[in-house]
Symmetry: none
Subunit: 200 residues, 2 copies
DNA sequence: ACCTGAACACCGTTCAAGT
DNA sequence: ACCTGAACACCGTTCAAGT
């Protein structure tokens, strides 16, 4: 946080910059201890001193990324209860799925790209990157709530996967026939998922 | 597939049994090459011969789980805890989704029938009937658990919708690329969904 | 074809030792 | 406090060699 003008960046900063750069070059980068340490010109021991665990490092990097990319993220609207904020966030990633005719158009491209036939290696990698990005985003939201004490300790990676599965299911149901009271049942499902995560 | 009576199981079978056993003991087990090979009394090389990649092994195990035929509806197997029974039931409706290539084949027909274009009224009705049937089935399971006092009073219709959304999400993820540890994350998600419902 | 076990190139984490 | 680098206990995959 302290930034001496013109001084050499601290090891901590160098590590975070190195990790962010690597992630910029390849969104699927694994950010291994040795790779990041080497890139930052720092020993693995030093990296571990600042980030006691690999997960701590990845959380710090993600926080940095999403702070700059999504300044108005609803997760930061502390006026609202945690569950409302989490649902608002999930709605954000559900929004591009559209509804009705648009939802089916979205599905058409999704189907052609990833499901129609054995996807090309290129398509596979693209999807994996997308998935990881989503996973990171949800994990970031959970880490914010965790720091506020709104979330019991636990595996946020698993929780994020769970929430994304629910969102995927809702996406599909938006395009499928039926669903008269889509809105109500979607809202109920989102809150059920959020509560499930928030209550451990 | 060939099963010589009384003969020593093939390495392939021993590996699958070992993996399934380990998964039974701990649903979050990572199923590493060496651990599974040791448990099966087989070399890592042999394991790799039958399952050229770690992903291949996990897919085979997953397929094996869903191949096991339940004699009756697992919801009535009162020897097991409620959550295990509910998860077993959900797995039943997830089973026809298949895995890997088969999953994509299933999706192809689903897409052509309901998503490709504005569905015919006939198709719409067919889907609605299917959906209702699923909804009833899940609600029945919940009612059984409710009568045993395993389920707090509440809207079982909403709960069933929630569970079906989760299953839909998992179905989709089976056909999409990626899914490194599909097996573990699918199990975790199913239990999370079951717990969410059982705890209100 | 099936199987072995060593070898390779990676992991994340720990820790005595330095400054 | 900060940093080093070796060491430990794991990974998944490859492969020459056996049967």
């Amino acid at each position: 946080m302290t930034e001496p003008t013109g001084a050499r960046p601290s090891s901590r900063e160098r590590i975070l910059v190195a990790a962010a750069t690597m992630l910029g070059e390849d969104p699927t980068a694994r950010l291994s201890v040795r790779a990041v340490a080497a890139r930052a010109g720092v020993s693995t021991g030093s990296l571990r001193h600042h980030f006691p665990t690999q997960h701590a490092l990845q959380e710090a990097v993600l926080a940095g990324i999403y702070e700059t990319v999504f300044p108005g993220d609803p997760i930061h609207d502390t006026a609202l209860p945690a569950r409302d904020r989490l649902v608002a966030c999930l709605r954000q990633i559900l929004a591009p799925a559209g509804t009705g005719k648009e939802a089916r158009r979205v599905w058409a491209t999704l189907y052609e790209t990833y499901l129609a036939c054995e996807p090309t290696e290129e398509a596979r990698q693209a999807y994996l990157a997308l998935e990881r990005q989503m996973q990171h985003r949800v994990e970031y939201w959970l880490s914010v709530l965790g720091e506020e004490g709104e979330l019991p300790r636990g595996d946020n990676s698993r929780r994020a996967k769970f929430l994304l599965t629910v969102v995927n299911g809702l996406m599909l149901e938006r395009a499928l026939p039926g669903a008269e009271d889509l809105l109500a049942s979607e809202t109920a499902t989102l809150f059920a998922a959020a509560d499930s995560v928030l209550r451990g």
